[in-house]
């Protein structure tokens, strides 16, 4: 079983996001990136499947930002092969362009299954996983929370609102958009990432990608402030008093 996991970097939302001078993109100069959290779940599910049925996991990422660190982190967690996709990509990189570049790179690799994170916080123009499946001409299922693999097919659970799930058989190869791995994604300590940097190599492939398929961005703007919450200020002690006062006023506590 050869599993490919495309990894993407997304802005770390813990940091303040600023809009650049053009007004059409984030100011990326000081932007801190992290692995898309759903991709972390996809990687975890891939590693679990490898442990169960054998095989190999290949992590693939597009060049840019801290891509090497991203790939070495995947190696530290257990990925067997690391592939960096280079090319003349549009900025900002949209989902259609990313999916085309990944399809170009993955076409040359051997694979039975591709696991992607179900979504990312910057997917203005749709899910990379679904687009990738179409560019590769293989089926896809999104919002997957359970995967079992046998006899050339995957048995997956797809989740809907309210927690009800559909069970599907999917003939491989296929792309699955992972919502959550069966267990919390494993953690790679810095020491293991460093070891991976010394011991693993990153292969490079090149691919092309047009951005077609996205709408034209007019502008970015922060949601309006002001209409929101009345802020409670002061020491924790004072804030706790205020909260209890509100709860009493509403008759929620006596």
């Amino acid at each position: 079983m050869h599993i490919i996991v495309p990894l993407r970097q997304v802005p770390d939302l813990v940091e303040d996001l600023e809009i650049d001078a053009s007004g059409k993109d984030l100011d990326r100069e000081w932007l801190k990136y992290k692995m898309n959290e759903f991709d972390d779940h996809a990687l975890e599910e891939a590693l679990l499947l490898k442990e169960e049925v054998g095989g190999a996991v290949t992590a693939v990422a597009l060049d840019g930002g801290e891509v090497d660190k991203l790939l070495f982190t995947a190696a530290a967690k257990g990925a067997d092969r690391l592939v960096k996709v280079r090319g003349d990509f549009p900025t900002p990189l949209n989902s259609h362009a990313m999916a085309r570049a990944l399809a170009g790179a993955i076409q040359g690799l051997d694979y039975d299954l591709i696991l992607t994170g179900v979504q990312a916080v910057d997917e203005l123009d749709g899910q990379v996983g679904v687009l990738l499946a179409h560019y590769l001409g293989i089926p896809h299922v999104s919002v997957v929370t359970d995967v079992q693999v046998h006899d050339g097919k995957a048995v997956v659970h797809k989740e809907y609102a309210g927690g009800v799930m559909g069970e599907f058989d999917v003939i491989l190869p296929a792309v699955l958009g992972i919502q959550a791995a069966r267990q919390t994604p494993r953690y790679a300590p810095v020491s293991r990432v460093r070891m991976a940097m010394r011991k693993s190599t990153i292969e490079e492939v090149s691919a092309e990608a047009s951005a077609e398929g996205a709408p034209d961005i007019r502008k970015l703007f922060k949601p309006e402030k002001g209409a929101g919450a009345q802020m409670l200020e002061g020491s924790p002690e004072a804030v706790a008093e205020k909260i209890i006062h509100i709860l009493k006023e509403k008759g929620i506590v006596q």
Partner: protein, 321 residues
């Protein structure tokens, strides 16, 4: 053409709220474009659902055994056939579990543009404009489209469902199911109902809800105690559930439950659109978050910027036994 096509989402025999939200918005858009509002209804034995779709001018129905339950591959094939036959100007698809499989598939298959995470749709001087809630609701992106058709994938709860709830049966046109449905790589096997939780969070007056800010599983009992003192229960946002720190039955938001308690105390929840759709109708929302720019403060009635681990022990103490 200037028609507006809505994908009529239904789950286990019922049209979803998203469908009515999109039908209501679709009708308004069709008035501006001067076209018709058409609903695409895919399924098997789904004709009775059309009685709730009086707001549409027409329902195009495709029936096939492979469409009886949602199937990402089968539904994409059937919806594509409907789009190709009608050539609408705007296609509205909910940004839900089903919609995620369909909108991107249609965009890639037909080579037409798509905007996701959409919370606002307008036509300005003949140009379609959308606003998408990106980066966990922290930054909005305004986009425009040229050419037809285009796909707009709309967040649940973005528009009022009431505008789409009109009784009366529109014109029904049955379309022949595409032959490709006979040869699928994805097969639906069965429904799996969620395990009944120990607590039904939709029935609670008070919910103390935790998000990523809770940091570790070890901190959960402390919050549970607070919930107990308030006579309520513990709920959570998606990352907590995905990490298996609490059972699925406690999840608020998209792919979880919609709740409407008298008090929703949000602790360390940033307020991504997927969470907001599940709790924004709570009577009283109090949010505690260390990030002053957390979107949750736009929806809360009262907000506290600070460390929840400083506040919690004091709050618990003051609430007494």
């Amino acid at each position: 053409m200037s028609d507006v096509l809505v994908f009529a989402e239904h789950l286990q025999g019922n049209l979803t709220d998203s469908t009515f939200e999109l039908l209501g918005k679709g009708r308004e858009l069709a008035q501006t474009t001067g076209g018709h509002l058409i609903a695409a209804l895919l399924g098997k034995g789904v004709e009775p659902l059309t009685e709730q779709m009086g707001v549409a001018h027409k329902v195009v129905m495709v029936e096939h055994q492979q469409l009886a339950a949602f199937n990402p591959e089968a539904y994409a094939i059937a919806l594509k056939a409907v789009v190709q036959s009608l050539n609408p100007s705007i296609i509205l698809i909910p940004y839900t579990s089903m919609g995620m499989d369909l909108a991107s598939a249609l965009s890639a298959d037909l080579g037409i543009p798509l905007a996701a995470y959409v919370s606002e749709v307008k036509i300005e001087d003949g140009t379609l404009m959308t606003v998408s809630q990106m980066y966990g609701g922290k930054v909005n992106v305004e986009s425009e489209f040229s050419g037809n058709p285009k796909i707009v994938s709309v967040l649940a709860g973005a528009f009022p469902a009431e505008a789409g709830k009109v009784e009366g049966t529109p014109v029904i046109e049955t379309m022949e199911a595409p032959n490709a449905l006979a040869n699928l790589r994805v097969t639906f096997k069965q429904w799996i109902e969620p395990e009944g939780g120990d607590v039904d969070i939709t029935q609670q007056d008070v919910l103390v809800s935790i998000g990523r800010g809770i940091q570790s599983q070890e901190n959960i009992p402390m919050v549970e105690e607070l919930a107990r003192k308030l006579g309520g229960a513990l709920s959570a946002s998606r990352p907590i559930i995905d990490n298996k720190w609490l059972p699925k039955s406690r999840q608020v938001g998209k792919s979880g439950l919609k709740v409407k308690p008298r008090l929703y105390l949000a602790l360390g929840i940033s307020g991504a659109p997927e969470h907001i759709e599940g709790m924004k109708d709570a009577e009283l929302i109090i949010a505690v978050n260390s990030d002053p720019n957390a979107p949750i403060f736009e929806y809360a009635h009262y907000g506290v910027v600070g460390d929840l681990f400083d506040l919690l022990p004091i709050l618990k103490e003051k609430l007494g036994g």
